[in-house]
Symmetry: C2
Subunit: 329 residues, 2 copies
């Protein structure tokens, strides 16, 4: 039995999304228990009076707002659903946790409550992207840190390498730095300095700079970048994938002939969609912490939030934080 703590109040919408998503996850996984943190009356209303033997609602009076600064969350949101959820992981009552709330606050509270792994200064957010060879590329940081210096980028590389080792069983994953060109002279000072650090570490299978267009090619298993850059890249990917899915749908709704055709076409397109649909990739993990913390998108729908819960379960099963720590030390 795995127990996950879930922040019911996180995300742009909150309980209306998170509660049904939790119920779905519990239905899919019979050996999953959930501690659901949030406003008890709001959650109870959504549960419609039904009780669930693997769901425990834990009332919290506060919620972290999407525009709360991390310092505000640290100072005055210690009774929030997000903080209480992390506390449950800290105390061993839950094996991992999931929130779709404010990233900056989640990062700050996670560091304060769970603490970082030894020799890691700041956690990073990592996720996987699909790749043309059928595999995937891990990319970090996706928004936990802005303005990362070369030393931070180096720590991201170490953590990314460990994630690829643990999750994919790759012994020497190829690690690259995201840049605006592959030549040595390209980029900014941080990236060029990080490249020197990467090259100097023989334990790292460093393959040099890659560009945005290389993310979908089999050039690297782990791509390292600053959180601002990674967050923009990730959200751009999601935006374009949704745009293309919508354009395709629209094209097939244009005439009676196209609508008939689309019936034949759907099974093929669904296989493409399955690989590019951002929903399938929801649930990035904050690595470098002493515990599994999964960040869902703020605007995730029910299916996507459920996906983030299943992702958290997967990281718990792989015992990710302990394995990263042992690989790093």
């Amino acid at each position: 039995m795995v127990t996950l703590a879930v922040d019911a109040m996180g995300g742009d919408i909150g309980p209306q999304i998170t509660v049904p998503a939790v119920l779905d996850a519990l239905r899919w996984q019979q050996d999953l228990r959930v501690l659901l943190f949030g406003d008890e009356p709001a959650i109870a209303a959504l549960l419609g009076g039904h009780s669930h033997d693997r769901l425990v609602v834990c009332h919290s009076e506060q919620a972290v707002k999407m525009d709360d600064a991390p310092s505000v969350a640290l100072r005055s949101k210690k009774k929030s659903s997000m903080a209480l959820m992390l506390q449950a992981v800290k105390e061993g009552r839950a094996d991992g946790c999931v929130s779709g709330g404010n990233t900056g606050a989640l990062m700050a509270l996670s560091r304060f409550i769970l603490k970082t792994s030894e020799s890691i200064d700041r956690p990073a957010i990592i996720s996987a992207l699909p790749r043309e060879d059928g595999g995937h590329t891990f990319i970090l940081d996706l928004g936990a840190n802005v303005g990362s210096d070369s030393e931070q980028l180096y720590q991201f590389a170490i953590m990314g390498q460990a994630v690829a080792q643990v999750m994919d069983g790759r012994h020497h994953p190829k690690v690259a730095l995201l840049n605006i060109g592959t030549e040595e002279v390209k980029g900014n000072d941080q990236v060029r300095a990080a490249s020197e650090l990467f090259r100097a570490d023989d334990s790292l299978n460093y393959v040099g700079f890659v560009e945005g267009s290389d993310l979908f090619r089999n050039k690297a298993d782990v791509v390292v970048c600053d959180g601002f850059v990674g967050n923009v890249a990730l959200k751009t990917i999601e935006g374009l994938a949704r745009f293309i899915m919508a354009e395709t749908k629209r094209e097939f709704a244009r005439s009676w002939w196209s609508r008939i055709l689309s019936v034949l076409f759907v099974p093929f397109w669904l296989r493409v969609e399955e690989r590019i649909n951002p929903s399938a990739y929801n649930g990035a993990v904050l690595v470098g912490l002493q515990g599994v913390v999964v960040k869902s998108h703020g605007d995730a729908d029910k299916q996507e939030f459920c996906q983030a819960i299943l992702a958290a379960r997967n990281y718990v099963d792989k015992n990710l934080p302990a394995k990263i720590e042992s690989l790093i030390s």
Copy 2:
């Protein structure tokens, strides 16, 4: 008659791509003349002894390499095809120019030879992205400047606004800043400080922060960002679009049944591809210079490089640099 100067040696491949692309452009546009700068024997070999009355080959002994630092290009590549091409624009022998060469060198040589417009410190690279409402969003900077401060971002906004006005006839284009969240507290110091500057200027129709996923929605007509971030976003978009096109092709090549179906499907998919294919968007323009300078991708194929030449022609026809200068002053 419009005369364009073209750098035959630019790009990852050089004359094998640029020469056929120029011939295609001349075939498409009967009122186009091209001055083609590069290694004369190499170009002559590709022309196969044929002469063309609207094509003048101008020999250059040097070429800028893709890994030349901008300082190297400025100091020792004054006789390069890229420098001579810019010189032709400066002296009025050409109305605009196109290169697929080293971006940093093109930027440095353009500033040195053509000079920036009055009140503009540094040029920026701007291009258009497709959008779900059928329109497009201009985005800048795409890689000419890394580590832009708030004042530079503000100048990008002014230039981007002018481009949207000139190219799309929009009187009050919506201008936004690319960030990792839409709340005021999000992002880095440069972006937050730029937001203050944007807001303080009443002539700017500033709509606040947008995220990567908003690029394809009708949230802004002009999106401003640092060149590192913009370059990664643009190349990520290109990479994903190519990945999806390849996945779709592969899915339809899987069986005899899918191959039969694909014949019916192709006309619909081509209409989607037309909107997302990066080839159709090749040819970003360096704005803020006293002349039309178009940057093609280094890895453009013949069709894409031809597209960049046609884009340059379009900017010349609209008299972009002079209009931007008059709008800014």
